[in-house]
Structure formats: C-alpha cells, structure tokens
C-alpha cells in the first residue's frame, strides 16, 4: 500500500501509523451530552466502499492525514492534511 503525503510525496505504508475513522475530527462540544460523546468515542460504521481514515506520517514529517480509500478495491482516492491552513 502506498500513500501520497501532501508534504513528502508518495511513500510506503510502513511510514504511516493508523488511527481510525476520520469521525474523530468531529469532536463534540463539551456539553453535547452522553449520546453524542458515546457516538464519537465508540460507534463506527463498517462500510463496504469509500471510507475516510486518519493516518499519521509517523516516520516522515509528522503530519496527520485524512485518507479516502475504497474498502472493496483498496484504491486510495484522496490523501489530505487534517490541518487546514488557518494560520
């Protein structure tokens, strides 16, 4: 498997560390209530098809990435930085 880090270019998957579903980017408000937090922490879809995952370029630049990948074909269609250029 190859991932194209927007900073470093195309690299072997061994350089990356997998975290999980990109739902973790949508952190609820502190007061969102138990159900929202339960969803955020524990509930994940198991989709056949396109999914968005979080990967860390741990043995590279340290960037956290959102990787859009098809679980049926393994095709990676997008690989973007989680960090929008807000500064």
């Amino acid at each position: 498997m190859r991932l194209t880090c927007p900073i470093c270019g195309e690299r072997d998957r061994r350089e990356f560390y997998y975290k999980g579903d990109a739902i973790e980017l949508d952190r609820p408000n502190q007061d969102a209530g138990l159900a929202a937090w339960d969803d955020y922490l524990h509930n994940r879809d198991n989709s056949a098809g396109e999914i968005r995952d979080l990967w860390h370029h741990a043995a590279g630049c340290g960037a956290w990435l959102i990787v859009t990948r098809n679980t049926l074909t393994h095709a990676v269609s997008r690989c973007e930085l989680v960090e929008k250029d807000t500064r």
């Binding site: 072997d12 340290g62 807000t86």
Partner: protein
Amino acid sequence: MRVSGKGQNQNAAPVSFTFDGQSYVGRQGDTLAAALLANDVRLVGRSFKYHRPRGILTAGSEEPNALVTMGDGASQDPNIRATTLELYDGLAARSQNAWPSLKFDVMAINDMMSPFLSAGFYYKTFMWPKSFWEAVYEPIIRRAAGLGALSGKANEDIYEKAFAHCDVLVIGAGPAGIMAALTAAKAGADVILADEDSVMGGRLNAETYNVGGHVGADWAAAQIEQLKALKNVRLMPRTTVTGAYDDGTFGALERVAGSGDAPLECFWRIVAKRSILCAGALERPIAFPNNDRPGIMMASAVRAYLNRWGVAPGATVTVFANNDDAHQTAVDLIDAGVNVAAVVDSREAAKPRGEYRLINGGLVTGTKGRHGLNQITVTHAGGIEEIETDCLAMSGGWNPTVHLTCHMNGRPTWNDDLQSFVPTDGTIPGMSVAGAAAGHMSNAACLKSGAQTACVVATDLGFSPNADVPSAEDTPYQIEPLWQVDGKGRKWLDFQNDVHVKDIKLAAQENFRSVEHMKRYTTQGMATDQGKSSNVSALAVLADATGRGIPETGTTTFRPPYVPVSIGAMGAGSQGNGFAPQRLTTSHHASVDRGAPMIEAGLWYRPSYFPKQGETTWLQSCNREVDYVRNTVGICDVSTLGKIDIQGPDAAAFLDFVYCNTFSSLKENRVRYGLMLREDGHVMDDGTTARLGPNHFVMTTTTAAAGQVMTHLEWVSQALRPDLNVRFASVTEQWAQFAVAGPKSRELLNSMLDDPIDEESWPFMACGEISISGVSGRLFRISFSGEHAYEVALPARFGASLFRQLVAQAEALGGGAYGMEALNVLRIEKGFITHAEIHGRVTAFDIGFDRMVSQKKDCIGNAASRRPGLLDIQREQMIGLKPVDPNESLTAGAHLFVEGADAVAANDQGYVTSVCHSPTLGHALGLGFLKDGPNRMGEHVMLVDHVRDVRTLCEVCHPVFFDPDGGRARG
C-alpha cells in the same frame, strides 16, 4: 548421463559436490538436479505421506519432489528445490523424509497400508479419546509424515531487505519478458526485469528453436547484454516476484549467490508504475497408474536437461502426451543421439515431427521399477504392449502461470482451446500480461505479445515506443484434454502431498464438492509447491467426479508467496537489536562500570541498583540507596523521561487543552504536575511541565509513554486545535537530566553551580537557568521521592561528566548513585503513581485526582470523564496496603477479597499494582485498587495471589505512607 556436444555449459569447469554423503562431480552452471541426473542419480526423495521413492519431475521452481536439506546446525535449511539450487564447489545436500536411508526407508510401510490411509483418514481414525489428540496422535502423525525439518536453533544466516522503484516491472525474462523489457527500456522507461533463474532467457535456454536466425539461447544472451548496457534498466536474475500487492507494490525474493558476508537471500519490495507479467507457463503431468516413479518427468524438463545442461535423464526415453509440443522432446533427443522408444500420443490424429515410432491413440496404463522406471505398459488400438524404458517424458499440456494475477482476489478464465486457465484482464491494477502467461503458446506469439504489450504500457506512461519483433517458430499449439488414465494402481496428482485421483473422488463422494473443500480434505495443492503442476488436473478430476464443467468448478485461491520465502528474509533487519534497538543514557557506561545490572525500560536501559562490596542481595543495595535519599543525597539518571519543548503564543492554551488541569495560570520559572487524559476519560500519562518563559514550556512524560504523548500532541494540534499557534519538538535526546534528591541536595548542588541557590531563590517547584563550570543548563526543584530534591539538566554531551561529578560529590557527602529499585521504593512510600497504576483502565477519579479535572475549561477527556459509570463510588479506587503482620510480604498482581470470603473471581474486590519493602518504615508496602477504597481506610482485606500461592491479611490505608503533609519536599 551427459550427452557430448549438448548443453550451454558443456565446456564449464567441473564442480564437486555431495548428496547424502556420496561424492559426485557436476559442472559449473548446473543445478543440483541437473548434476544428479548427469550422475544417473534418479531417486532423490521420499514422498510426504506414503514415503514412496520419488525422483526429479521438473526443471524449475514448481518442483514437488526433489527437495533437499542444506547446511548443518543453526544454518540447516530444509525443502530446497534441487531444480533451482545452483551447484557450487563443496555443496553438500541431504535427502529428506527417509530413515535410515533413502533406498531403505522403514516408513515406506505406510505405502503398504495405503488402503487404510486414504484422504481424510486421520479425521475419521484419530478421534477418541479427545485427550489423545495432542498427546498421542499428533506426534505420531508428525513423525510419520513430513518434509524437511528445521534445526530448532536460532538461524544465524544473514538476510537482507531492500526497496526498488521503476516505471515498468517486467516479471519473467523469457521471450516475452525480454521483448517487453527491451521495448519499454528503449522508449526511455525505467525498467526492472526480474527472473527467478540464474540465467535469463526462460524457455529459450531449454529449447532448440531459433529466434531472428540465431539459436534461441544465444539470441536471449545477446538481448540481455543489450539490456545490461542501458542505464535505465536493472536486471534482477535469481529473483522471484512472490506477490502482487496494492498500489503497484510487489514482493520479490532474490537468492543472492551468497558467501562470506553476502546475505543468503534478499527480500525486495518493488514499487512499479506499471507491470508486465511474462511468467510463462507450467507443464502439467498426466494422472496415469503409478506415474510417480523416478524417471517419469515432465517432457519440457527432459528438453531443459538435454538442451541447457547436456544431460539425458535416461538411456531409452519414451514420450507420453496429449499435445504437439511434447513431440519436440523426441526430436531433440534423437538429434542428440539419445534412443527414443516411442511417442505415445492419446490423440488419434497426432502427426509425427520426426523419425520416431508414434503410437496414436495410445495410453500409458502402467509402470514398473521400484527405485526407478524400467518398463511401461502402453494400451493402444493394437492391444497391450510392454516397452522397456528408463525415462518417460510426459505432458498433459501447459498451464499459463496466472498466479500473480490472482493475488488481489482475481480469478482466472477458462480457455477451451488451450484446455487451461488464462488470466482475467484487470485483476491487478496496472498489470498487463504477455507471452505464454497470457496464453500465447508459440515462440513468435510470445515475442510479439511482449513487444506489443510493452508498447501499450510505455505509451500510457508518456513514452513513444517502437516494436521490432524478430522472426521465430510459430507452430500452432494443439491439444486434446487428457486428465487421467484408467488402470490398476494409484494415479498421482499432487506428488508432494501424495494425493491421487481416488482421493479427489472420495472427497466428492463425501460431499467436499467445492474445490476449496476438496483441497482441505485431501491436502491437494498445499506445501512448498502449492500444487503448481497438479492443481488444474486435480480440479478437472473433481469436475468430472461432480458432473460439472471445469469453469464451474473453478480454481482454489492463489495467494502470495509464489515460492516459499524464508521468514528470515521477510524479517531481515528485525532480529535482535534490529527488532529492539538499545537506547543508552549518557550515564550508561559509568553505571555498568559500577556493576549496576541494567534493566529494560521500553528501548532504554536503566540501572537497577549499584552494588557495593559486601552486599550479596539486590535488596541490601536498594535499602542502602533509599537511605541515601532519605538521609543524605542520591543521584539518579532521569534522562529517559520524555521531554517535549513547547513554544508559541498559544502554548499555555494548548497545555490547558491537553492537560486536565490548568497551565495558563502557571507562573514563569515554576513547575506544575500535570495529568493527561485520553478522550475517553481515562488517564493517558502524567508528568511535570515547566514554564521557562511566557510562551515557552518544557513538558516531561513518563519514559514508556514519550512516543505516544508526542503523537497525541501532534494529533491535537493539527486535527483538533489548529487555531492555536504552537509548535513543539521532542528534546528527550538533547538533554541529560539527573535527580539530585535528599536533605543534602542543595548543599551538593551549591558545590557545583556557578551561582549558588537558596530557599528563597529556588523554592519548591521552582525552575530556571543555571550554569555549571560555565555550561548553561536548567534546574527544576521537583521531587519523585518526597525529599528536598532537584533535577538538573545539561546538554547531553555533558551528561557523562555531569553524572560522574554529581556521584563523586554525593559520595563525599555520604550518599551516592541510586537505581530503579530504590526509585520505586521511594515513590511507593510517597504514593506516587507510575504506569503500574495508570495502566489504561483507570480514571482521574480512580486515582483520587478527579478534582484536578478542571470544570472551568474544555480539555481532552473532560466530557467523557464525567460519564456516570466513571464516577461510581463502587469503582476500584487507589489505596495503600500494608500487612497486618509486619513480617509478611505483599505481591503485585495479587487480588483483594473481603476477609473470610472465597478467593474466587465473583468476590474480587480489587488488585495490587505495586509493592516494595520499605526500609524507611520497616515493612512491606503496596499500592492497589479497591472497590470504594477511599471509604475503607483501616479495614482489613485478604490479599490472595493464586499464582505464587500467597495469602496476606492487609490493612487498607492512605496511599501516602511517608511524610503525608509533604513537609520534607518543601524543605
């Protein structure tokens, strides 16, 4: 025997070798199989189950029979294919699965008992009693059946791994592969041409066909020279592409011609924009009665031994086939002066290609010869005939080598003309298939297909290729299906696993009709050759037995690797220190010099204790070192703790978000303890963070969690709080940091600091810059021992000298260095936690720190930590333990029960995480977790350790055993 004037290595130097201790001479360029056949050695192994005598079947990596063991002791390497093993001077190979000798193998009795040992016999036979499964049956079966054995010792051979990248990977260097590589390379593409043979050329080296007016092998050699001269081409001979993976990644095993420091094998990961599979085809046997005797070989292998190595595998050869191609075997043999008894062709209308006896519509229905073939029975229209022959060259047709195209769930397609499976388009993204692998069965078609495929691929990549295809033989391939021949005797399909036609029929009869079920029931297609020559025939037999067609029956799943890959090669670089590199502190050598046993802390090594003369147990040393810190001064290297430098205008706000307590209120030149939660509300890590300036902090983490915390901070900063302007870097390696702990710590420091400190300038939890002998550093007044203590840090290059000086000064004051044992005792006496307590399942509430979780701000873990279940009083919460009888001991990992209750899981009240003997208090101490613990102070609980058989009545107490108001640390 050798045939004079034949073979590409006919003038090569002689090479001596041994097989089963017997000396032989072969030629440079031989494989072990070629050299054995040249020496008329036909019996080379015993079969897996029935221990039947077996010989060499093929001339390639698909070989099921001729497996040998190489090397001795730790270097013993079993199941090496004699057909791919290159001969070298002094090579020593041994046969396998035979005892006491290859010729007289006592386990051959299995063959007599074969009527009772049919497929699945052990499922039916070895059933009762259950206790015999592992204790009796399995050892017996394992002893009786098997291939080569491992030594049981750690392998000391050198392996390597490497990465390679290219535009076009060409797999296989036969006619199609050579044309593909040439065409793509001349167009300008970066090309890797990988081939599993030592000499590139594929079947051109084994056949007598001409290409472009030259002998095929010469043409191939000339093209390889041409490729070698191109800078954009990498030739990888002896390299088998073993697997196709996502995104153009391929695994490949290179057999390095290793000696001395060279590795045995190198495992490659090749990344290619496009790939062209030119893996050729594998000839398949015919299942006729007793078709497994040494001397019965593939027709293509007979041609390979004759044409490439100048070896005739028999004095009188017979050919048995269902296709035209095999007739070339007779032609080549006759040209070389070898006697051909007959060509037996199952087809009525077969035409001869030369001057030999052709038996049309004939079938081989029996064979004779215990350790090697000497006679066959042929049944034809004219009746039954015995033919004296010592070699039978058989061919049931060719199977395109589709394996790699199936590695990503692809299935091959049945082709009726070829009576074979061919690759299905598009099963591997970026892969094209050319040559015989794609079903092109003539030389000319292979050359053309290689060139044309490369043109398409190179054009896709933006190059402008030209194809220049030489002329070559273009005989059409004609075949009529022939899978099995009736007659008395077993008709072998899978030679390696001793599966014959009746086994497949039995599987079908017992309703293992799916090809995958049949495989598991009969073991067809397993082990080192993975049924390369037998699978298609076996499923044809299954199709017949189940009344279905071959396409509906389908194939089993081809998975990587294509050939066996040593675990040593795949794991190259990951043995020993390569698996777990050693991280050494700057005080490491000084500690070892002092006799300190070093213990692992993650990848770090830390001193356990520093023994003094006269001390005979670790406890004596530990007690003395605790005494240093409690009464004078001790020195301990704490550089292994993670140190993260955090800077930026929003650094304080960032810390407020990652720690559950507040850091924005921390004054400059002060240190604060911080507790970090996971988002699920459980404790992740703890440590102190110092504020060195308005926008500058240094965070410390525990040794074990340093990497995890760094990754976490990256995550929070990039994903959750990109609005905060903050940057951080790990500085763990950059600073050497030492604890200076004990009542005389300030006295010691003042003997070394350029500017002395006092209580007013450096109170408890103060920090700042200092200098020692002109070297700038940092000093933190923090304590993990409960004593008046500091941690002093200098750039790592000064660490070794700083440690020596600190210890010398400490010793002058009556103290000295202390290790992990003493550090652990000191912190347990004070109830300070480590990852023994914050083990991943505990919350701030559980360790009594819930009030640290500030409710005035959001932070990681805040919301989830307030979940009702996590604040339940019945949760196991941290407590201290001491034995009611001070002479009794405690054990970590023990569980806690109400006194008098049965020590069973249902009555479990909690557990013990850390224990020590406290020299300060004179008895054992423990930290642990107990249901509703904080409200049970003074209660007695029973500590039960079922593993070490310990039962100790304990008193529940506050976890801070020593100096509960903390006056000593404040000074």
